[in-house]
Amino acid sequence: MANNTLWHEFKKGLWQDIPPFRLVLGTCPTLAVTNSVINGIAMGMATLFVLLCANITVSAIRKIVPGQVRIAAYVVLIALYVTVADMFLAAMFPPISKALGPYVPLIVVNCIILARAEGFAQKNPIMPSVMDALGIGIGFTLSLAVMGLIREIFGFGSILDIKILGDWFEPWIVMILPAGAFFVFGFLVALVNYLSIKQKGKKTETVCH
């Protein structure tokens, strides 16, 4: 029984609550770094790391932190973990760190992390919080990878820098420009809506401010 609930916490991040498309959270990195698959995956992994650490810590200290200062405490914690992730990327994968630029530090204000800390980890013990973080984090990484895949195929005719479309293919420059990110994201949200309507007859969507 306990295993079932844990599995449910994990699974819901993959489809039912998949972050960018269903919850419309964390839209800035989703749009900004997905001009190739590898950037999307790197960004997703960095977010997953921060989300996991933040959820564990918030869950562990949930009974100690007074209610009035909890948001401030969470933000400082998240900022610390983001600093760690940023320095790790800069030391181990300099080209990726360069490509992601200021979007790694911007994980601090990624609503997904604060929303999970506030909405889940502060009410639940450590184990469910870990599963929640893994589910949402992997869901987020997959979403970014899909966005990156579509934009890389049409924008460069390649996947992971390996050319798959021949010389006959004229790259769609718009796909790697900012406008392409908005279009791809818009159509993917519509696709998820379509699938939900087919599945359950209704669409679920909330916007983070």
Partner: protein, 192 residues
């Protein structure tokens, strides 16, 4: 001359919302009505200008001087949160009218990535103090502009017959894409 270039560049050519995707959350969330969009834009512009004015000295005179620039993310986010809190307290005391118009948006601004992004870009591009303040103000103007245009289009959209799956966030994102295409037209403004 450089200040004018920074202003045009930050507000039109490299518009934060449409080219760097910063501040998308309020852009999608608060752009239903033109009046709300304008108030949100003004509040954000105000906070952005102050943020640039406050974080630049913190970075240059504290973090760099004591050789701890790696603490900049923590320092910036605390500075922004504290700043927003003070602005809210000051406005509530000094002008209830403005507070009623802008008050509810102020807490949201703390988690607006455009504000933190502004502080990060300012450091990355090594602007001096005056340039940073102009940059902060111009970014706010660009944000307000994008918000206003978006809310205008969305008000018209209420009467349009949008297919069900595209309603809501989806159509808003596609419109934003078209706006981003239009804003690319400004790219030739400076070099040309």
């Amino acid at each position: 001359m450089k200040l004018i270039l920074i202003f045009i560049s930050a507000s039109l050519i490299n518009n934060f919302v449409l080219t760097y995707f910063l501040g998308i959350c309020p852009f999608l969330g608060v752009s239903n009505k033109t009046e709300d969009a304008l108030n949100m834009g003004l509040a954000t512009t105000f906070v952005m200008t102050l943020t640039a004015a406050v974080t630049w000295p913190i970075y240059t005179y504290i973090l760099v001087k004591f050789n701890v620039p790696f603490l900049s993310y923590v320092a910036f986010i605390i500075a922004i949160a504290a700043l927003v809190q003070f602005v809210e307290m000051y406005i509530r005391k000094s002008s209830p009218t403005i507070y009623r118009a802008m008050g509810i948006y102020l807490p949201l601004i703390t988690t607006n990535c455009a504000v933190l992004g502004l502080a990060l870009f300012m450091v990355l591009r090594e602007y001096n103090y005056i340039e940073s303040i102009i940059f902060g103000f111009a970014t706010g103007v660009g944000f307000t502009l994008a918000m206003l245009m978006m809310s205008g289009i969305r008000e018209e959209l209420e009467f349009a017959d949008v297919p069900e799956v595209f309603q809501g966030v989806s159509i808003t994102l596609i419109i934003a894409g078209m706006m981003a295409l239009a804003f690319m037209g400004f790219a030739g403004l400076i070099r040309g």
